[in-house]
């Protein structure tokens, strides 16, 4: 596998998926850096992994669920204390529903 071409358009596509606004100049620089890393990572293709199960987590086989019981948690005030903008007792953001 020759791997993908890591260029400005791929970087901007991934940036959009990541909710990152980056300039084209920054995207060009990142494309060069990421291309090198993606090329390096391609060495994993040398290995035969057929029949090898993936490891998502080393403790996956013994992850217990805790009892589903209500417990004390942060108060409303504490939860809102670090918010950049609070209105009507909630986290306020720029409106995202277009008004008719």
């Amino acid at each position: 596998m020759s791997g993908p071409r890591v260029d400005r358009s791929l970087v901007q596509h991934v940036a959009k998926l990541s909710s990152l606004s980056i300039s084209d100049a920054e995207a060009d620089k990142l494309a060069t850096e990421l291309a090198k890393i993606v090329q390096y990572v391609a060495q994993l293709e040398e290995l035969d992994v057929s029949g090898v199960p993936p490891t998502a987590h080393v403790q996956m086989d013994r992850m217990p669920l805790r009892a589903d019981e209500p417990r004390p948690c942060l108060s409303h005030e504490e939860a809102l204390a670090g918010a950049p903008r609070v209105e009507n007792d909630g986290f306020a953001v720029t409106s995202f529903v277009e008004e008719k």
Binding site: S21, P54, T55, A56, A79, A81, G82
Partner: protein
């Protein structure tokens, strides 16, 4: 000042916790200007806590096992009422409304939290140069890095600004700075210590652990923070043995495996010689040394940088300018706010890793990169399982080189990643690993011996580390 001595003197009433705390604060005030190991010194909170320990003693109530011990906390660990930034501008000025599980345990043991230490932004880095607040410096040579990402914790302990500290280790972020600063640093078994309240980088790899000036001190801190926490689904419900007592265990007859792959091209000859000498010293103490194979070692860097960045891209999605931290709002729409906030709040390395992680998880590339890396992770784990059936511990270098100069590797992210080659495999396998100082280089830079043990067998690892420490008793402190 070592952890055990502080506890003993406070218990006996020879010193007050307040006096110890004042001495530490004065040291930080006088000497941290050139090191920048702290991002925040919690002077008032620390003194208040120290006085309450003294009150407790006066009133005859039993004292905890870290009574009066000043401890520095990596800034990725949440501390109620004390700013926590994870080394990022996106959390500048944020004050957590709760304590991490490890912080609760430290307070319950009567330790005194003296401040928050410098780190690579969101623990992404090996030199501290990715801190949004400027790097910490190595007390042995301030033109050099203390390592990363827990560089501030390592520098503070090395400079004796604190007898111990907490760090976090995802791919070597405790062990590498410990090696580069001549301190003891432990990455516990994955799941041994609660991650509740640790700002997540790569959840399947992150683990909190201690730094200290001596092995016993690190063991004492580890025994306080280890143990089950229902608030972390990956926390192990396993008994914690007496880890301080484990330091005294005889190492005679223990089998030490030496993986050839860790003495390969790229290893600084002086580091190699120092580590081999330490292993020779352990052999003289009665350990049985034998070569072992960890054949997938060379794939660990690639595996790690796929998996850790994938997890990071998901974990860091929460920093969107809505509930906490920085907000940059161009007042167009919500997407524009997310994008502008994250662009202004994250530094270049964090962006690089978010982009790489999003890429390897994205449609069309998931199987080729992410899933394949998870399968290679299984092969790396199997290497350790096989080796640790033949031997009790593995010994190797921690870092291929001693502390490098600040600025030396910043322009080449891949070269920086490759410097983690000896620490990443144990992280992928989830096994406990630590760094203990051995003979420094001729120019006086510290070198660390890495000791790796079976899952949950920190006790054996600590016994070997103590034996190593006895071989090199020269109390390693920079002048």
């Amino acid at each position: 000042m070592i952890v055990g001595d502080v506890v003993a003197s406070v218990h006996r009433g020879e010193r007050t916790a307040e006096a110890v705390c004042l001495e530490m604060l004065a040291g930080i005030e006088a000497r941290d200007g050139s090191l920048h190991s702290f991002l925040h010194v919690a002077k008032d909170a620390a003194l208040e806590q120290a006085r309450s320990v003294d009150e407790k003693r006066k009133s005859g109530r039993p004292l905890g096992s870290l009574a009066g011990v000043p401890i520095a906390i990596k800034d990725a660990i949440c501390t109620r009422g004390i700013p926590t930034t994870a080394g990022s501008k996106i959390l500048s000025g944020w004050v957590p409304p709760y304590d991490a599980g490890v912080v609760e345990r430290l307070k319950a043991a009567d330790a005194v939290l003296i401040g928050k230490t410098n780190m690579d932004e969101f623990a992404m880095g090996s030199s501290n140069e990715n801190s949004a607040y400027g790097p910490a410096r190595n007390p042995w040579d301030t033109t050099r890095t203390p390592g990363g990402s827990s560089g501030g914790s390592a520098a503070a302990v090395a400079a004796r600004l604190a007898p111990c500290a907490l760090g976090s280790d995802t791919g070597g972020s405790i062990r590498q700075p410990a090696a580069l600063t001549g301190t003891v640093g432990i990455k516990p078994t994955y799941g041994r210590v609660s991650r509740y309240g640790l700002i997540a980088f790569a959840s399947s790899l992150d683990q909190v652990g201690p730094f200290a000036t001596d092995v016993r001190g690190a063991a004492r801190v580890l025994s306080v923070i280890a143990g089950h926490d229902a608030r972390d689904a990956t926390s192990l419900d396993a008994p914690v043995p007496d880890l301080v007592a484990a330091c005294d265990r005889d190492v005679k007859g223990l089998r030490i495996g030496v993986p050839d792959e860790y003495f390969a091209e790229g290893l600084d000859p002086e580091v190699g010689a120092s580590v081999r000498a330490a292993i020779g010293g352990l052999e003289k103490r009665g350990c049985i040394v034998k070569p072992v194979k960890l054949p997938h070692t060379r794939y660990a860097v690639a595996t790690y940088y796929v998996l850790a960045t994938a997890e990071a891209s998901s974990n860091l999605a929460r920093f969107d300018g809505v509930r906490y931290g920085l907000r940059v709002d161009p007042r167009r729409d919500l997407r524009a706010m997310y994008g502008a906030t994250r662009d202004a709040g994250f530094g270049p390395e964090v962006k690089r890793r978010i982009l790489l992680g999003t890429f390897v998880l994205s449609s069309g590339y998931y199987d080729a990169y992410y899933l394949r890396a998870q399968k290679v992770r299984t092969l790396v784990r199997r290497d350790f399982e096989a080796a640790l059936r033949e031997v009790d511990v593995l010994c190797s270098p921690v870092s291929p080189t001693p502390a490098f100069r600040l600025g030396e590797r910043v322009d080449d992210p891949l070269a920086m990643y490759l410097s983690d080659v000896y620490t990443l495999p144990a992280s992928l396998a989830g096994v406990p690993a630590m760094s203990v100082p051995c003979t420094p280089t001729k120019s006086g830079l510290p070198v660390g011996l890495q000791i790796v043990a079976r899952p949950l067998d920190e006790a054996t690892m600590l016994a070997v580390a103590t034996a190593c420490e006895q071989l090199y008793p020269a109390a390693l402190a920079p002048s």
